[in-house]
């Protein structure tokens, strides 16, 4: 059995990707990272960010709401201090969280020639920062501009990570594809508000956060199916995966790779379990490679 997936020339040993923000910078748990298809770093900004005031986490039985607010070491320290410490055998994608074109230009120019960096995930969708982030990703024009710029600056794989908040993600997907993205990542967290009724104020220190976890899976699955049928670049799914079954659902719906996010918080070795579940399914069903099921969902 061969779980390899190719997106263009980029090879992934299996369809599992550790999602941005849920696995740090790749400095720990490398025994997990080294078994995955790819690893995406926490979002990196040009300047170091201390992040949002606590509390930053809320959850229900099937969701997580976070407002970490892109706390990260910033481009300089990432390049000088963090990157040299990352020792993984899995393609390293850097999640770039820019506010405007200048930011993305600086980020890509600084990192594009580092051979440890396999590619970039353009974060056009973080709901946890006031500027940039989700606001960028809601505008078809901004998505096109940022992706075009990024494309003009690097030949490395470029993933555009999009949002469905307050916009038509089918349109932004098309814009990113037209502007030269190699793949779409669908989707970042949903805007979410948790209220402390005693204090009559938002529970999270930042006011609001981003919703993820198993409850959003049916919603994201629908989006992945719709977009992957309309847009002819690969789709990478991100939303609510906790099991091998979920991965297969996303592959059937049309995703080529599948990200694991919130589940890593419950169990940083979840990726290993999910990989085993995936293998067992492929074995049982006599499927020889992911290509055999990607997009194979029948219509009703």
């Amino acid at each position: 059995m061969n779980l390899e997936v190719f997106l263009g020339k980029a090879r992934f040993r299996n369809p599992l990707v550790l999602a941005s923000g849920t696995f740090g910078y790749g400095l720990t748990h490398t025994h997990v990272i080294d078994r995955m298809g790819a690893f995406v770093t926490k979002g990196i900004t040009v300047q170091e960010r201390v992040g949002n005031p606590p509390p930053r986490i809320w959850d229900t039985a099937e969701t997580v709401i976070n407002s970490v607010g892109l706390e990260n070491v910033g481009l300089k320290r990432f390049k000088e201090e963090t990157l040299p410490l990352i020792h993984i055998s899995t393609p390293l994608y850097v999640n770039l969280a820019g506010v405007d074109l200048d930011d993305f230009r600086i980020l890509i120019k600084s990192l594009r020639d580092d051979e440890r960096v396999a590619g970039f995930e353009l974060n056009l969708s973080c709901p946890n920062v006031k500027e940039g982030g989700v606001a960028l990703g809601q505008s078809v024009d901004r998505v096109r501009e940022v992706t075009s710029l990024a494309r003009s600056l690097t030949t490395k794989p470029l993933w555009a990570k999009l949002t469905s908040n307050f916009c038509d993600v089918r349109q932004t997907s098309k814009a990113a594809a037209d502007a030269g993205a190699d793949a779409l990542v669908l989707i970042n967290t949903l805007n979410a508000l948790v209220i402390d009724i005693k204090g009559r104020k938002p529970f999270l220190g930042a006011g609001s956060g981003g919703l993820s976890g198993p409850a959003i899976k049916p919603y994201v699955l629908y989006i992945v199916k719709e977009v992957s049928r309309q847009i002819n670049i690969p789709v990478i799914a991100s939303g609510g995966v906790t099991s091998g079954t979920d991965v297969i659902e996303y592959l059937l719906a049309g995703a080529s790779l599948v990200q694991l996010g919130s589940i890593n918080l419950v169990d940083p070795e979840a990726g290993l379990r999910i990989l085993e579940e995936l293998k067992r399914y492929f074995e049982q069903e006599g499927i020889s490679s992911p290509a055999g099921i990607i997009g194979q969902l029948e219509e009703r």
């Binding site: 849920t22 740090g24 748990h29 606590p54 986490i57 039985a61 706390e71 419950v266």
Partner: protein, 256 residues
């Protein structure tokens, strides 16, 4: 960043031996492990519950061979779920997590517990006792019913002082009202405190002139340093991860 054992989450399938009510919303859980290495005071375990997606953190309150004791207060859905477990239930746990507290080179030391804060300090008292460091404890709570673990502290400490907000047991008043007037306080070399945020803020204002280690809580995501969900603001203007850089911090080094 050096790899440390608590950074790799060790999962356990453990058995609940006893679930005993200690007071209003307060429960003592005895858990038996199949396999358990060193556990230091200040370290915690994360419990999977059927009510919430993320694990819930509880400090080790005591140890006896392969058994750990946890003491929990019901504040929401996850703790309510745990409080209803019956003996014999299987538990999905991860730990030990976090860094153990820095042990003192010499005593006497004093433990300052507000409410459920007594839990991690009990295990510290046990370890100090084993190392023959003299230890006093000031245990405070809202009411008599909420004062927990007093007997256990009694058997491990040189002196145990009790206080309740309503005066129903021991001194009347907040821990930080009573503390400055205690005669014992003068020869104390180090304080260890665990309690609500308001208690830490008041302790900071007291300025006891000796090192004070604060056992902090925080809403956690991963418990293993991956998500930056648990930050506490440091004096340096940065957020520090309670899960891996703590949960115990020198009170001087954090902003409240």
């Amino acid at each position: 960043m050096t790899p440390a054992s608590f950074l790799v989450m060790k999962r356990h399938q453990a058995t609940l031996l006893e679930n005993r009510r200690l007071g209003p919303g307060l429960y003592s859980l005895q858990v038996e492990f199949e396999d358990l290495g060193d556990v230091e005071p200040g370290q915690f375990f994360e419990f999977l519950t059927g009510a919430r997606f993320l694990r819930r953190a509880f400090s080790v309150a005591d140890r006896d061979a392969m058994r750990l004791r946890f003491v929990l207060r019901v504040v929401g859905k996850g703790t309510a779920w745990l409080s209803q477990l019956t003996e014999g239930s299987k538990l999905n746990l991860a730990g030990p997590l976090g860094q153990g507290v820095a042990m003192p080179s010499e005593g006497p030391v004093m433990l300052l517990a507000g409410g459920i804060g007594a839990a991690p300090l009990l295990y510290l008292a046990r370890k100090l006792n084993e190392q023959r460091v003299e230890v006093d404890a000031l245990l405070a709570a809202g009411t008599k019913e909420e004062l927990i673990l007093t007997e256990e502290f009694g058997s491990l400490c040189r002196k145990v002082i009790l206080a309740t907000d309503d005066g129903s047991c021991g001194h009347k008043g907040l821990l930080t009202d009573i503390l400055p007037a205690l005669p014992a306080i003068n020869d104390i070399q180090i304080f260890y405190a665990c309690g609500p945020e308001s208690m830490f803020a008041a302790l900071k204002r007291l300025d006891l002139g000796k090192p004070l280690y604060a056992f902090l809580e925080s809403r956690m995501g991963c418990g293993t340093g991956l998500c930056m969900g648990c930050g506490v603001l440091g004096r340096d203007g940065r957020y520090h991860r309670v899960c891996t850089e703590g949960p115990v911090f020198n009170l001087e080094e954090i902003e409240l």
